[in-house]
Symmetry: D2
Subunit: 437 residues, 4 copies
């Protein structure tokens, strides 16, 4: 059997913080218990098929730059099988429990829609066998409705119904494939669902089209008995000038507007959050507050660069704050932490894929430990409890219950006079956080 990653002999193992072995985990000890669950249960890591297996190292100014053994077969389906074999070798050697894919990652576009579907079917069977053999599971599947030129003006939001229908047909098979592979979620990311210019766009109609598209999907899932969670992944822009799923709040508003709220949760990505002008933890908090945190695409952006750099997460602050939100919202549920991350173009060896993932997994494991320590210490929670304590009185409570009035508030003020201002203690709290790192 072909070995695609000879640089890693066996499984990447946990060796502890003192290890100097770059191919060992220093913090991710998958069976270690943290707040009542193992690290593996908390983090539910997934490898992204597209970045890890399919990324060719091209960029807007550069040609493909990596050569992978699994790309050597000239026949597209042979290449797809080799890629899939390499993928499962990678998942296994990394001890990653999950993976995620787009339909067109797994299998190539054929000469016709029918041929593409046949390709997909065959590759799903292939992957299913490998899942069984390795125990690796599918976190989520999705359809690539943005790369092919037919989606130049969008998929569900396309001005041409023919393209809408094509996307609908494609997504039908992608959902079916996800079901067949036991996928726990299905993700919608609308890379081209937005506009390049308002000059040629009917914004409202396009959003209605999108809603219709989602309703068809909800109906179909019901019909075939797919019980995985449907997730929408917000992104503000890129490739499109402006995407309709700008951020968590925008998506929630859309879902409420079009009677889709009960059927979807959010798949949030760190780099998409920052491109939208939010911190990652903000988006997690917004989703958490709405009970809509479905899954996470972990990576890191570069705030001095204005595009989706999709770097591996290596910043401990970011992972600790993210895990704080996740733990406080009760965990990631049937979602997981998918590495929507790619190695830099100059990291052109396949071993770099291991370095990237190992670093990301260790940084999140450490983030989990930090977040758990903060929660168990209680210092932040105590501070907040004290800070919001004035809301415990009867007037405040009646205001919250809708029984108050401006007049009652005025009466309160006329009696009590000017409020005393208290410090928010941001610097103190930031020092506290550093004491946990």
């Amino acid at each position: 059997m072909t070995v695609y990653f000879p640089e890693v002999k066996d499984t990447v193992l946990y060796e502890g913080p003192g290890s100097k072995n770059p191919l060992a985990f220093k913090w991710y000890d998958r069976k270690k218990e943290v707040m009542g669950k193992t690290m593996e249960q908390h983090l539910r890591f997934a490898v992204a098929y597209w970045h890890t297996l399919k990324n060719d190292g091209g960029d807007p100014f550069g040609a493909p730059a990596v050569s992978r053994k699994w790309n050597e077969p000239s026949d597209p389906m042979d290449r797809a099988r080799a890629t899939c074999d390499a993928a499962f070798e990678f998942f296994t050697k990394l001890s990653a429990p999950y993976y995620c894919f787009h339909d067109r990652d797994l299998s190539p576009e054929g000469d016709s829609f029918k041929a593409s579907c046949d390709n997909l079917e065959k590759m799903v069977a292939h992957a299913k066998t490998l899942q069984k053999e390795t125990g690796v599971k599918l976190l989520w599947g999705t359809a690539n409705l943005f790369s092919h030129p037919r989606y130049l003006h969008g998929a569900g939001t396309n001005p041409d119904f023919h393209v809408f229908a094509y996307a609908a047909a494609q997504v039908k098979h992608a959902i079916a494939a996800t079901k067949e592979l036991g996928g726990e979620n299905y993700v919608f990311w609308g890379g081209r669902e937005g506009y390049e210019t308002l000059l040629n766009t009917r914004l409202k109609q396009e959003q209605e089209q999108m809603a219709a598209f989602f309703h068809l999907c909800v109906d179909y899932a019901k019909e075939i008995g797919f019980t995985g969670q449907f997730l929408i992944e917000p992104k503000p822009k890129e490739p499109t000038k402006h995407q309709y799923d700008f951020d968590a709040s925008t998506v929630l508003n859309f879902l409420r507007t079009y009677d889709l709220y009960d059927h979807f949760k959010l798949n949030l990505e760190a780099n998409h959050a920052t491109l939208a002008g939010h911190t990652f933890e903000h988006e997690l908090a917004v989703a958490g507050a709405a009970g809509k945190l479905g899954s996470i695409d972990v990576n890191r952006g570069d705030l001095l660069l204005g595009w989706d750099t999709d770097q591996f997460p290596t910043d401990l602050y970011s992972t600790a704050f993210a895990m704080l939100e996740v733990l406080q919202t009760g965990g990631i549920g049937s979602g997981g932490l998918n590495f929507d991350s790619k190695v830099r173009r100059p990291s052109c060896d396949s071993v770099d894929l291991f370095y990237g993932h190992i670093g990301g997994m260790d940084t999140f494991a450490r983030g989990l430990l930090i977040a758990a320590a903060i929660i168990e210490d209680g210092v932040l929670e105590q501070f907040k409890q004290e800070r919001y304590s004035p809301w415990q009185g009867s007037l405040p409570q009646s205001v919250m219950d809708g029984q108050g009035s401006l007049a009652l508030c005025e009466k309160f003020v006329l009696e009590k006079g000017e409020p005393t201002v208290k410090s928010g203690r941001q610097e103190y709290l930031e020092n506290v956080i550093n004491s946990f790192i």
Copy 2:
């Protein structure tokens, strides 16, 4: 009677595009008819009391830099009266039909809540007289719930109920003042309603507080019979690290979540849109699509600077695109175009206030003419009609009506094959726009 703006003898007049008089309108011809209404009816310009009368030219690195005759009286109430007199002289000389104010622009904070309310009452009476004398009307009123240190941690979202109550009491009087002055709208801008750090913040509770606050206001308006429109003004950040009313979609989601949707529309500001990562016309289109365009704060930001520069609008593209959205959504209704714009700090003469407003009014008048010409020509609309024409068929219509299915879409694709891709013609359309300028 004291004259505060001697540099303008009488009313600023329309002299046409050929005029070289910097104190004349070149495009704003208020009685000129455009698409069935006068320019004045379309644009409903308002002067912002705060920037125009109260801005002292200070900035984060600089001391107050302007000296105005109306600031000379040492007694706060005398100063307030002089300021109000100057304001109405300015409105009148500019032929601005409306103005907007915060409670604390009009009248000074007193030694106690009661004293502040008394001050406000007196100044409202003063302003009412001047409104009657001049015919100038109030577009909207609002309460300043962000400048005073008591609002350090927010007003409605404050962790201390005492501050919430203070804000509630203050807003009660501001709504009453707006009603007394015949204000057609009342605006909420939550400059401190957000957070500096999530480390000390309960995001969900704060949003619930805000919702409770708005419900009290809705109840009060009903109680006193204030029939003006309630408006929320989104802004993503500044002064707060992150504001809850990030953009139009975020506010709409909030209103839907907390059962406030029917009671509010949006007051959109150009510079707030760009700070949130949107074009101004995008935000107008989002509000228009939801039927929630209430009013507009006209200004312009500097996209190379990361703060709210609030410059006077002088870019014809921006005003033309804005007016296109306004005209297409059926006009600005009971809202208007409020100049939330300030002259640059080095523009330290009071005549600069006239230059700023005249330029802004002319640029919007010209934007209106351009937008109307585009609409009357029909070229854009025709292009869109053709572009979206494939949605006229029976299958597309049934999909939009919720009668379709992924399977029917697949059947369609299997019959029709690959869609033909058409160009979006962005460059052509941009050239078309330039032919109207």
Copy 3:
């Protein structure tokens, strides 16, 4: 002979502002005289071979999306010849007097360095014939030292001398090709001359390498008698995380540091300026002040997007301000206005290439007319003259001549007291500008 652009029968003609023909110029009337020169002489437009002929419509999330007749031949050299024929048909039909190219646009990479050089030589001969036939000239040539994976870590700044040598050898042939084709300039854009991370980078050594690289080029040009102007094109980032040629000032500092100042001027691009946090006119002014404005890449960015969108210039303000700087610095000399602009991906027809260029040429022609009108009117210059007039005195002059002292200044202040502050009149001046549009 194959016709590649049948949608344009003959040459695009000037039809004046009233024309509704999308394939005619409305403002670019090439023989029209403006301030003593024809429009053609002022603007010296060039078409960029890469965007116009070679762009395949791919983007980071999308596959190639355009199909061009000239890409049909399967043999690379046949394709190169067809592309070159199409190019000259395009230049001619557009009446563009110039074009610009990278070596690898014109001819394909071969199996060896030698083979690549042979390809280039053949294509140069082909292009030379077409230049003679059509009268179209070469504004500048350059070498593509950023697309091929060998340049993953830079060309001149590569840690591996082997790559440096390769780049040096490649640039040798590119300069020779430019000379052979009568190119009036040669451009260096260091797309990969920067770093991805300082963790693996010796910044100082890499800059010394770059300087050595440039010195070799200067020597070679002298040796072969290439008398065209050498130009460096600044860009702050993308594709590299941080490029050494960040902006005009950074490049000037580099040239001064490494004794290269006399041998280079700048090729400034609008979108690169904005990515660096400057307006386009700022960069032009910096270069103009140093007498180093060599040539211009005209396009437009989208300030709400963080990457090089390279859109066609259609904003009249930007082109008018750019032409103001160009006219004030005495014109573009042996440089020109190269359209480093590409149609949007959804603009997938070849006719869109015409729309893009026509719009760009018209917008710059109009910008030229506006700038000339402003200069001829004298209003801005007069304002500045008055504003800086206090520097006419003898003390100010002696200070500028290095004869003053802090003590003399203090003496002046003790006599004259507090200065009077005058308004900068920004709003007035912005209104003035609008009166010219």
Copy 4:
């Protein structure tokens, strides 16, 4: 004697990482040796008089929000003395060895230039006494040439020579005051030395004025025997739309252009670097490569906010990378680490000033330890040595020495063929960094 900071009884002490005392150092152990010097010698911390003593908590949307005991005296000079006493109490309790000030921080503007100078003289005497009593030293002084309205259009770059002269006179006294207090450096930050709009600006003349201004200062320092280092502090924008001292490279180019290179070094600020689109460590590396790293303003920006937030540095990555550059360039010399940092507006208690500084000092102490550990381990340096090893050969060396030619490089390539591409190992190196945190 009045105690201004009763919340801190005595000196803040080092208690080690395990301490839970928020008013103790956990990492800053000033006498601890690191790479041959004590922490105190490495870090040379300074407190910024303006943020710590003079910041009133106002912001563009908010009134002053803090009340300090030292602001209670109503007479300006009494207040200045109380402030100075409080300052030295703070410095001492914090064990900060240095402070920095603007002339107008220390003493108030008087009714005339003469009166302002007298005020300054008196306060210098007062501060001198306190320096002697406490042992606290002056890291640098500077003149505030940006707050007063007379500097609306700049100081050295003002179109009015009268203002230039005023600034010159003011800076004369500020340099003298710095000398009198034994200041080791003198800093120039040109907050208003730039433009608001090019429409009214002669960019080249203004830069020549600035150069003349600096020459006068150099002459004066020589004249009075001030031997401290002159430093320029770059900032790209804010308050001005565009500042001439955009970043390190821009300043170096300016210094070279106007024959000032030998007389100045750079004072680099973290938040100014990020506003200019650079990382802090990039700017340090640029200055280090030029031998021009003079001193540092330590703080941290918020990359999602577009203004100078001047937050206390609490990010370990940023401080570790900064200290790596500092150590590699041979230390900070006669400069130091000045906290140009302010507590957030809602941190309104004076104890928050301690939390801010303690956190900043600890984070930099820890950054120093991390950087030293990385250097002592040698892992990064070894990686670079290997990476750049191909430059050791004789051809590469002759190229660097100016003896090569493009032809020799071509010969090399024809012999050696295609270079082999090696990975840059960014992910591996980022993991290595995390192993030191």
